[in-house]
């Protein structure tokens, strides 16, 4: 790993293009209600195929952070969060717009998002390498427990009923079982269909589960659309643009008042991000609640207090970098969007762990720095482009749907030039749709799919390393395993804790946001 190599990576044309596409594209994707960061990343993974690894991942992380920011634009101006993570911003942000302070709300959001994201990038740079080194002490047994922990916590945090979340995760693991088992040389669950022998590919499954199912969910509102609800949207955008008077930048006083908020929210966001499975929406709500608690003016929250916007946006962007920490070091995504990025990493041959920071260090450090730059670019472009992004949110569904479908289908095909992948995508699209209708989260299933073979190999190797001793006893002799075991038990109780938090803060907030929460981030 050397500085020259990193600089070469960063200043290549591909990286610069990747940054631009990622930042602008991310903002637009985020601002469009119904399209979230998770889905945006999933659709654009195929586009990164013939790109070098570093620019590819930089683009994906840029999309992640800018979509999180973009979501706030429509939350503030149209009272419709573009992504779930901006739900907490909608109430105060929109109230500010109605007061004519919409532009300032966007200004606050831009600064907060940029600072939150940049902070998390810096922390990623400092926290990840030591953690990667620590992961050297991990052998198969620990890896098995880590994957178990990742699945347990994503399962418990992503649904109202953790049993459904875990079921989704296990289902993902099961689907990963389909195919040829290399260790024993037998085919499993293939029913003599050749196509199934190589297993279910991750990226087609991802695209199906997230993008196709989303198109179907959007389709539910077709009836309303046919009855010319478009005019409503047009009027809203006009009103929003009218509300964007006044200055973009907060006053010196306001900015000074924001600073403790930003620091606190940034740390909250970072920690929530590092926690596997907890995504932008949790980060923003927790930090919103804390900002309210620390405020001398609690009643104004929800009615247009810019500190609310600041807290929520700083945190949700800080989550992005935080979620990359466990992802790059241990292979456990810190959020569902990170899980999709894991898919992207695997395709480019980047395996999370110690090697990523040593032999492949050039690539990894380029990615982290590129991610930091993306956050800065986001602020710069946000300052100039926020107004125009709003106009984009008016794009009607009937234009979006075909574009998404074509991109998904062709993108999937482009992976291996195989129509079979497309069929997989189609099947999983239908499955994803029904899962979301029945309140079963899709993110754990993706994680199960990705981690399936890793978990099984780890278990098998543990059994052989136990050399005849019952494998459970073998586990209990390893301290790190015990630690993770305790963590797994704790994460089993996490949902109860989350319910308490939700009741305190949210109540009306989350329902008003009226957004499909299940797999977005």
């Amino acid at each position: 790993m050397n500085i020259q190599g990193i600089i070469d990576n960063l200043f290549s044309i591909q990286t610069i293009l990747a940054l631009l596409v990622g930042v602008v594209g991310g903002m637009i994707i985020g601002a469009l209600p119904g399209l979230g960061s998770t889905m945006g990343i999933a659709i654009l993974i195929p586009v990164t195929y013939s790109m070098e690894p570093a620019p590819s991942i930089i683009m994906l992380t840029a999309i992640y952070t800018c979509a999180t920011y973009g979501g706030s634009i429509s939350a503030i101006l149209l009272h419709t969060p573009g992504t779930v993570a901006s739900a907490a911003t909608a109430a105060d942000g929109y109230a500010m717009t109605l007061r004519g302070e919409g532009l300032k709300a966007i200004g606050v959001s831009t600064i907060s998002s940029g600072l939150g994201g940049f902070f998390s990038a810096v922390m990623l740079l400092f926290l990840a390498p030591p953690l990667a080194r620590a992961s050297l002490a991990f052998s198969s047994a620990e890896i098995f427990f880590i994957t178990l922990f990742g699945l347990t916590i994503i399962g418990s945090l992503s649904a109202d009923a953790p049993a459904k979340g875990w079921a989704s995760g296990v289902l993902g693991l099961c689907v990963a079982m389909i195919g040829y088992d290399v260790s024993y040389g037998v085919a499993r669950y293939t029913y003599h269909i050749t196509a199934l022998e190589s297993g279910i590919q991750t990226v087609p499954a991802l695209i199906g589960l997230f993008s196709i199912s989303q198109v179907m969910i959007q389709a539910e509102t077709i009836k309303a659309r046919r009855e010319h609800k478009e005019e409503d949207g047009e009027a809203q955008v006009q009103r929003a643009l009218a509300g964007m008077k006044g200055s973009f930048w907060p006053t010196r006083q306001e900015f000074l008042a924001m600073i403790p908020n930003i620091i606190r929210s940034g740390i909250i966001g970072l920690c929530v991000g590092i926690l596997p499975g907890a995504g932008g929406d949790i980060g923003s709500w927790v930090s919103y609640n804390e900002a309210k608690r620390f405020s001398k003016d609690k009643d104004s929250f929800g009615k247009g207090n810019f500190q609310g916007v600041c807290a929520s946006e700083t945190a949700n962007n800080a989550v992005t970098g935080g979620s990359l920490v466990p992802l790059l070091t241990l292979g456990i995504p810190g959020s569902s969007a990170a899980a999709v990025i894991l898919g992207g990493l695997t395709i480019h041959g980047l395996i999370p762990g110690h090697a990523l920071f040593t032999t492949q260090g050039n690539i990894t450090y380029s990615i982290i720095i590129g991610f930091a730059i993306a956050n800065l670019l986001m602020v710069v472009i946000g300052v100039f482009a926020a107004k125009y992004v709003v106009k984009v949110t008016n794009v009607p569904n009937d234009v979006l749907a075909p574009i998404i479908v074509v991109l998904s289908v062709i993108g999937t095909y482009a992976i291996n030039l195989s129509m079979i992948d497309v069929y997989v995508m189609a099947v999983l699209g239908l499955l994803g749709y029904f899962m979301r209708k029945f309140d079963i989260p899709t993110a754990p299933m993706v994680l199960g799919l990705i981690l399936g073979s890793m978990a099984e190999n780890a278990l098998n190797r543990s059994i052989s390393m136990a050399k005849g001793v019952n494998v459970l006893i073998y586990f209990s002799r390893r301290p790190i395993c015990i630690v993770f075991f305790i963590l797994i038990i704790i994460s089993g109780f996490a949902p109860a804790m989350m319910k308490r938090l939700e009741k305190k803060v949210v109540g009306t907030g989350r329902e008003e946001a009226n957004v499909d929460m299940s797999s977005d981030d």
Binding site: V47, Y49, S50, D160, A161, A163, K164, W166, A167, V170, L171, L173, C174, M177, D181, Y184, G185, V186, R188, Y189, I212, V215, M216, I217, A219, E220, I222, K223, R225, R226, P396, N397, D398, V399, A401, P402, I403, V405, V406, L407, V409, I410, Y413, A414, L417, M419, V422, Y423, A426, G429, L430, Y433, K437, F438, D439, I440, A455, E456, L459, N460
Partner: protein, 147 residues
Amino acid sequence: MKKNRMSYDVPIGIFLVAFSAYFFKESFKIPNPNSALFPRLLLTILGILGLVILLGGLRKTFRPKETDKPEIVSLDVYKHPMFVYVLIIVYIVLLTYTNFILSTVIFIPLIMLYYGSRNWKTIAIVTVSTTVLVYLMFSIVLKVVLP
């Protein structure tokens, strides 16, 4: 007494238990028993979780609580999404037997019309621009051969 509407968790739970049981039985077809260990483990867990969900569904049916999320049971909701899905399948079939350009040029107007778009100009613009851009992006920039 008011009739309780059955929570959809009940059929979900039943399905999961049945699913686990069926594939557990299927696991005996795997030639090497060691290889079957992990699947069986997973399916057992899945079955237990299915049971939990089933019980939760029964509880929601007979003793509904305030905090339970409202469940949409009407079949109406599914009409449009399913039709869109059918259109997507049609597109994929077209792609299998013909080429990209033809399939896409047929698909996009179809789906836009279904969505209620009546503005032929818009439809034409979207169709042409999407097809052209995707074609350029994938075959030239990324050097991918399209079906």
